[in-house]
C-alpha cells in the first residue's frame, strides 16, 4: 500500500511542471509617458507597475494550477530590475506565485541579455514551462520570448489566447492576422501571452499578507555568467506629433473643397 503510493507520487512527479514567469516593472499603463528633458529617454519618476502582459502570464500560471492541482509543482516569478522591482515581484507573489528571483540591474536591459539571463536560471532550476508577456509595454520589442526559445532550442508559441497543458504537451491558440491558429508541442516550451488570454485577478489582502513571507532570491548582476551591458545606445526620443483640432464645415461641397485644398483626395 505504502509502496504503491510512493510509486504513484513518483509517477505523477514525472508530469509535474515547474513554471517560470518572467515579469517586468514598467511605467504604469494608465500614466501618460513624457520625454525626459535630455531627450534620450522618458520621465521615470512616475508610477510604475507590472507589465500588463506579464500580469496575464502570472494569472495563467495560477489558473493552470487551479484547474489541475497535481499538474503544477511550482510557480516562480523572476525579474531583472532596480530595487523597486521587488514590489512587482510581491504583486506576483500576492497573486499566487510561490517564490521569486530578483536580478538587480539599474539600467534597462536589452532582450538578448534578458533571454540569456533567463536561460541561466532555466538551466539551473529546470523549468518545463515559461509563461511570459508577448512584449513589455515600455520597449514594445516583442523579442525576449522568441530569443529565449532559440537559445534553449525549444518550442515557442507566441501571442497565446488560450493554453492547455496535459501529458507533457502544451496546446496553444494563437491570435494571428484575421483569425486563430492552434499549435501543439512538447514541453519544455516558451508561451508568450496576448491580451485576451485571461483577466488577471486582484491581489487579495490575505494573499498580500502571505506574500510577505514568500522567499525572494536576490542575485547581483556581477554574480551572473551573463554580461548585461547594452549594445544599443538611445540617441533620441521624441513625442508623437500633437493632434490638431478638427474643423466644422457647412456642406458637402465645402468638405470636398477643403479635402482637395489639403490634397487629401
Amino acid at each position: 500500500m505504502f509502496v504503491s503510493r510512493v510509486n504513484a507520487i513518483r509517477a505523477s512527479r514525472k508530469v509535474d511542471i515547474n513554471v517560470l514567469v518572467p515579469i517586468k516593472r514598467c511605467i504604469d499603463y494608465a500614466v501618460k509617458v513624457r520625454v525626459s528633458p535630455d531627450g534620450k529617454g522618458v520621465d521615470n519618476t512616475v508610477k510604475h507597475s507590472m507589465n500588463p502582459f506579464d500580469e496575464i502570464a502570472v494569472e495563467e500560471a495560477i489558473r493552470l494550477r487551479e484547474k489541475n492541482k497535481s499538474l503544477v509543482d511550482s510557480i516562480t516569478a523572476i525579474t531583472i530590475g532596480p530595487q523597486k522591482a521587488q514590489d512587482t515581484l510581491r504583486t506576483a507573489l500576492a497573486m499566487g506565485a510561490d517564490k521569486a528571483i530578483h536580478v538587480q540591474a539599474e539600467h534597462n536591459v536589452e532582450p538578448l541579455q534578458v533571454a540569456k539571463t533567463l536561460k541561466h536560471f532555466i538551466d539551473r532550476d529546470k523549468f518545463e514551462l515559461v509563461l511570459m508577456g508577448k512584449q513589455a509595454i515600455d520597449g514594445d520589442e516583442n523579442a525576449t520570448g522568441q530569443m529565449l526559445a532559440g537559445l534553449l532550442d525549444c518550442g515557442q508559441a507566441t501571442f497565446a489566447s488560450s493554453l492547455k497543458v496535459a501529458d507533457g504537451k502544451a496546446t496553444v491558440t494563437r491570435e494571428i492576422d484575421g483569425g486563430l491558429e492552434t499549435v501543439e508541442g512538447n514541453l519544455p516550451m516558451i508561451v508568450t501571452t496576448d491580451l485576451r488570454l485571461n483577466e488577471p485577478r486582484y491581489a487579495s489582502l490575505p494573499n498580500i499578507m502571505k506574500a510577505k513571507k514568500k522567499p525572494i532570491e536576490n542575485v547581483k548582476e556581477s554574480d551572473l555568467p551573463v554580461d548585461l551591458k547594452n549594445r544599443l545606445e538611445t540617441i533620441k526620443v521624441t513625442e508623437p506629433a500633437q493632434r490638431t483640432g478638427g474643423q466644422k464645415v457647412d456642406s458637402v461641397d465645402e468638405l470636398v473643397e477643403k479635402l482637395k485644398q489639403n490634397a487629401l483626395i
Binding site: D28, Y29, A30, K47, S49, M50, P52, R201, S204, L205
Partner: protein, 524 residues
Amino acid sequence: MLARSLKQFSRSSRLSLQLRGYAANPDRNSQFARLSEQDLPSLASIFSSPDTSLLTTLGEKPTATSDDLEPFNVDWMGKYKGQSSIIVKPKTTEEVSKVLKWCNERKVAVVPQGGNTGLVGGSVPLHDEVVLSLSSMNSVRHFDPLSGYVSVDSGIVLENLDNFLAQKGHIVPLDLGAKGSCQIGGNVATNAGGLRMLRYGSLHGNVLGLEVVLPDGRIINGMKGLKKDNTGIDLKQLFIGSEGVLGVITGVTLSTPVRPSATNVAVFALPDYESVQSAFSSARRDLGEILSAFEFFDAASYKLVRSHGHAAERKTFEDGEDAPFFCLVETSGSNKDHDDEKLGAFLEQLMESGIVNDGVLAQDETQIGQLWSLREGIPEAAGKAGRVYKYDLSLPVEKMYSLVHEIRQKLSEKNLLAAEAEGGNGSGPVKTVFGFGHLGDGNLHINIVADAYKKEIEEVVEPYIYELVAKHNGSISAEHGLGLMKAPYVSYSQDSPSLDLMRTLKKTLDPNGILNPYKCVTAE
C-alpha cells in the same frame, strides 16, 4: 489621472420618458410674462453671435427643433421635464448680465443651467422658463501655481478643469460621478459634495471667489484668489448652494491643492454594519492625513453594479462576493513608501481583528479605476435597471444604515417590494432598495429602483423617509440640494426663522422672483 470617466450622463434619445405627470408640481405663476416671436429680435440683439447663442422653437423660422431643446428641458434621469422653447447660451458675463436685465424688466422667468446633471429637478424648467445655459462660457481665466488657485468661467466641465490642473500638478478639490458632464458653476450653485470631500472639505472652504450676476443685471466681481479676506459679510457664501435662486454664477475662483503623487485603493467585504463603523474609525486613526475617501455600499448595490458594465466581467473577491457590506478606502499622499507602510499596517490589522472578511488592494492605476467603478458605477447601474428614486441624506454614522431596513420594511408591508429584492415578498413594482454613500461624511444615498415612477411608491416613501431623518436630527438633503423634489419638505430640516430669512434674502435680491422659480426657496 484616474481612468474613471463615467459615460453615464450621456443622454440617450432612445430613453423612453415615463414622466411623473401626477406629482403635485406647482402651477405656472401667472405673474411671469409669456414670450412670443415678437420678443426674439430684441433678445437676439444682446448676443455677439445670436446664431449659436439663441436656440428657439418659436417663430416661423425656428433655430432649433424640440429635439434640440430636449437636453435642456429634461433632466438626465428623465424624471423632470420642462416646456421651455427658448434656450440662451451667452458667451460672456456681460451677455449674461444683459439677458437677466432683459428678463427682469419683462418679468420673464429664467432657469440657470450648467451640465444639467442635478438629481432633484433643480436644473430644468418646470413650465416655459427661459433656460440660461452657461455651456458656452468654459475657459480657464487664470492659474496661479504658487498661491494654488484657478479662476475659470463657470461653464467649464469639471473633468476638463481637473485634466487642465493635472498637467500642472494640481487637483480640483471636488470629484463626483458626473464629472464628465457637470460644470463647476453648477457644482458651486448646488454646493456639490462628492468623493474628495473627506480630504479637502466642502466648497464653502474651497471657493475663494465668485463672479455673480444678480437678477437686475448687476455684476458682483468677487474673483479674488485670497485665502483670507475678512472685509465684511462674506457674500460668496450666500450663493454657494443657493441653487440659482439668488444670482447666476459666471466665474469661480477655486483653491487647487497639489495633486497627490501616490494613490492606493482597497475594497473590503465586511460581515455587518458594525464592522463598517469599526473599519472607518480604524481608517481615521491608522491612516490619518493620507485617508482621502471612505465609501461604503451594501450587497444590493454590489449585486446591481456587478450586473452592468465593466464590473460585470469578473469577481472582485475570492471569499467575499456574498458579504452584506463593502467599503472602499482610498489613500493619497506624496510618498508612496510611506503610504504603503501605513496602509499595509492598517489592512493587516483589519484582517487579523476579523473586521473584514476579505479584501483586495489595487496593484496599478488600471485596477484603481476598476475598483472605483464598483462604487462609482452604482448610480449608472441603477439607472439601467429601472426608474430610480434617489434620497440623499445626512445622518449620524451609527444610525445611517438602519434607514434602508426601515424603508424596505415599509415598502414590503404595502406589498410594493418584489420578491427578487432584498427583504421583498410580493410582486410589487420595486425591484430593489439599496444604500451606499460617503461614510466619511455621514452621507447616505438610498435608492429605490422601480419599473416606473408610481404614485403609490412615492406616497409610501415621502414624507415617511423625511420624518425618519428629522427624528435622527439628520438632513433631508446632504448634497443633492432641494430643487423641485425636496422644496416642499425643507421644514423637516430647517426651522421657520431660518426659512423666513431665506425668503427675505430671495425677495431682496430677486424682487420679481424670476430666478429658478418653484424651487429651493419657495413662498410658504
